[in-house]
Amino acid sequence: MQTLRVLVVDDELGMRLAVARVLSNFVVHLNEEVGGEIHFEVQTAESGEQAIEMMTSQPEPDLLLLDLKMPGISGLEVLAQMRQRNLHPLTVMITAYATLETAIDATKRGAHDFLPKPFTPDELRVAVRRAVKHLMVERQAQRLREEKRQVRFQFISVLGHELKAPLAAIEGYLQILRDGTAGQSPETIQQVVQRALIRAHGMRKLISDLLDLTRIESGQKRREFGPVDLREIAQNALDGVAQAAEAREITLALHAPERVPVVADRGEIEIIFNNLVSNAVKYNRNGGRVDVTIEPGEGGLVRIAVADTGIGLTREDASRLFQEFVRIKNDQTRTIPGTGLGLSIVRKLAQLYQGDATVESEPGVGSTFTVTLDTAAPPPAPVSEPSSGAVPIAR
């Protein structure tokens, strides 16, 4: 419930009292997110001068009902002075003689609507309801714009930090080489160069993930749908990590029908599998397992599960995991490279297929990431959730 402050400015006492009486027990019901139940607190002024004085000495009203013709300064003059003083209550002009010229003039000076005199209580209620709705919708839009702006600032600030760290490291390595402060042993120099390359690679990966994310969110990339075999893509993803897995004696297994034909954008499906499979190896223990399971369901529904026997996640960490730039930092993950964008991308892609990405995990035992896709659904519009604010959401 909210109470809006209304100021009624009219030189006729009867009019002021009537409006105050009608509005003091009038309630407007709006959607909860816009404002819910709206009540009114009414104040009155008998002249334009008094109205200006009240608006400057007290908190500005939300709504102003302003008579056009009054002795002393007119309603139009009140509007002009309000503008000078940076007062912007939503204003409804009350007038018996609204000529077209005065109407245009008042609108130019910021009036929102007109209420012709004489009016019935119901006409007053209709005009006030309309004004309140406009006011509250405008305020909600303002709140959303502000939230979006904050999310975007936050994103840019985190991104800046993520880009700065590898550059600083590379700078450090180059300085060491230039100044010779680590000696001249070829072995050391080799190590320095190798580490600098790893950091440069990580940064490039971050930027390419960021571009993927931007393309998905903006919906500007043309999605190319065609026949895709999920098994083949899963196998390719596993082949891509085979060497890294072998080095750490991690067993890779694929459980899927001979062929899992669906209609999808091949590039998107590749990103999903590559991210999940590469995580499952990266966050595994030496000698562990990665099990990729593809289960086709009814009418184009597909469930993909990637299970590892790795370090696992606490419930709290799991709840944050799909957010951008969230990487779980502890002794076990510190040396594992990553951009913090992969899972966020996977979830957004799954949502493009009316699906989702989720995780079940037990610390020290392993994690299972599950992605559901509806490949029978018509290609949907780009995700409209402003979850990152990285880019404007546009079709």
Partner: protein, 139 residues
Amino acid sequence: MTTTERTRILLVDDDEDFLFQHRIQLENAGFEVAAASSRTEAEQAIASFTPDLAILDLMMEHHDDGFVLSHHLKRRFSNLPVIMVTAVTSETGLVFDPASPEERRWVGADALLAKPIRFEQLKREIDRLLAAASAARRE
């Protein structure tokens, strides 16, 4: 410490690049270095490593790990010179400068360097603190 032994430095930072870069530079400068990437690893390292000086990152897994570790080290090895390295100024805009003895006692470090640090600058602080420590021992 006998003259034939190399001076031992305990280096603790959760930034793998910082740790590696400074370990190889300190080793090249003739020090023996124990590198640890967390407070826990540092506590394990000092079971078999008696440092002559410690270089600690202030903010590791917990924001005050450097402080806590420094107090531990100073209790365990009396008069151990400690250099605190921190990105706190570039991260938060706060400026620490423990100039007075009281401030140094509060920070728990003998010198505080803001990241990014230049190696010559670090080396100068190390030499200064080691010289002061050996003078104190002679007194």
